[in-house]
Amino acid sequence: MSMRYNLTLFRYITRRQRKKWKETVVLIFIIALSIFFPLQTLESYQNQKYIAVISQYPLSIDTVNAIKRIDGITYVAGINYDSLNDSIVFTATPEYKIFASKYIIDGRFPEKENEIVLVNNTESNHRIMLNRIVKINGSSYRIVGILSDKSLFGFSALFEKKDIFIHITHIAFEPILLYVGYSFFANETEIYYEIKSLTSKNTYTFMHFTPNIERVSIEIFLSASFISSTVIVFLIILSFRKDAAILFALGWQQKRIIKRVLLELVLIYVIGYMLCYFFLYFALVHTLRYYLFGNLGIFLYAAGLLATDLLSAYIFTRYLVFKKAIEVLTE
């Protein structure tokens, strides 16, 4: 293919973009966001590699050993069996500091069997949960108190550490695990928790289950980004219909027209990709650093998204645009 043709092709693309700059800007932002948000979620999932288990309940040596066997826990600190205000810490990060004391901010400590407390782990409180019945392993428990521990579970602490915490508190005579997941855009709805009885044989299996909650949300994000991106491509291709039909009628081969469409998408996509990095830089500098220097995930994801978009653009152009090209010109 001649150089002149390629230059002409590029001129068409840039001129079309200038003419339709508003649509282009919207598309670039959508592509940038569609990469950005799944990466955010992915990042929050991947950073759950540091697990801390905190207990304020006197645990047996067997239980301590069982907790230490949980994948990701390599360090034990701050063991003290004497007081409710002290904690046992199992963590993958030895430099982790011991936490401030906890206190009931609402309700009371459990006094009977089948009573539990929740840890208030965000700026917002969980008062709404008070007196609710939750089912754990088939047993019902009443939430009788809200425990404050902002220095431990507060936003700023998690922002730096990005750890998963398994908080061991107690019901009357039985230790339980309170799991708190954390995501970057933490708010009341994004904090989730799981409670399991330590006396149950299934106590530790939830560790594998809980990350799957996050994995599901990644899948949802990824699916949503791929679907929305494909829908946008469909709309863009529709906006190409008339141009494509004219070029087709004037003797351009279909493959040349498709090439033009795909090149234009790549151009837009690359700008969107750069914009995503720009967002990431300001929103989460260490993520950018991490992905840039330590992981190809972001590139693979973006490449996958681009490949999907180009494939869908090809299919839409080939089977929707050309099939209707003549109608577009003559209707």
């Binding site: 068409y12 001129r15 200038r18 008339k242 004219i246 009628a249 351009w252 081969q253 003559t330």
Partner: protein
């Protein structure tokens, strides 16, 4: 054999369970370098016949020969190539590319070819001069009148040095005076460049400009003169 010849040409569209004969068993002969006008009401099959002659659509049955070659046998890609070398289209809706100026719209059909830039420029300027738009060469379609846009479309149709120009109601969006100017321009270009013009219209005032007139009704033709 005539330059263009159709044999038992049929094009059927299906709307639901209904068959519509857009072109119904047409046998038509068109001589080289003549201007033929297809005349008839809307829905009579004029546009469909032009699209068939330009290999933009395929007939349901029948054959089309151009200069002795059967174009209905061509593969999709060969048909595109043949169209680019032999056919110039002028559409009823004009169909210029709105973000390109006059010059670039005119050279669009040559973009995929290997013709040298100097030759492309020479041809384009010559044609833009012929259609009287030299001083509007950098204008976008939106900055031109409808008549001027149609002139650009005519120049674009001629840039590949086609042997046949197919014009589908080129005057339908124009006032009668501008319409007459456009057809007169086409007539002039046809004589100058020795090209076969097939023009469809429902404007009876334009019939006098044709070498031959063909009436179309319900997908069938009758030769007027």
């Amino acid at each position: 054999m005539s330059f263009i010849e159709t044999k038992n040409l049929v094009k059927i569209y299906r709307v639901g369970n209904k068959k519509i004969y857009a072109v119904n068993n047409i046998n038509l002969k068109i001589n080289k370098n003549e201007m033929i006008i297809l005349f008839g009401p809307s829905g009579s099959g004029k546009t469909t016949l032009l699209l068939l002659l330009g290999a933009l659509i395929r007939p349901t049955s029948g054959k089309i020969f151009v200069d002795g070659n059967e174009i209905t046998k061509l593969s999709e890609s060969k048909a595109v190539e043949w169209r680019r070398k032999n056919i110039g289209f002028v559409f009823q809706k004009i169909n210029l590319i709105d973000f390109l100026n006059v010059y670039d719209n005119v050279i669009v059909p040559l973009a995929p070819s290997n013709i040298k830039s100097a030759e492309v420029k020479k041809r384009a300027l010559n044609l833009i001069e012929k259609v009287g738009l030299r001083d509007r060469i950098n204008h976008k379609p939106s900055q031109l009148s409808v008549g001027e846009q149609q002139r650009v479309a005519i120049a674009r149709a001629l840039i590949t040095n086609p042997r046949i120009v197919l014009a589908d109601e080129p005057t339908s969006h124009l006032d009668s005076e501008t319409g007459k100017e456009i057809v007169t321009l086409m007539k002039q270009l046809q004589k100058d460049l020795q090209i076969t013009f097939v023009v469809s219209t429902h404007d009876p005032d334009l019939l006098s400009l044709a070498d031959r007139r063909v009436r179309m009704r319900d997908g069938k033709v009758s030769i007027l003169s």
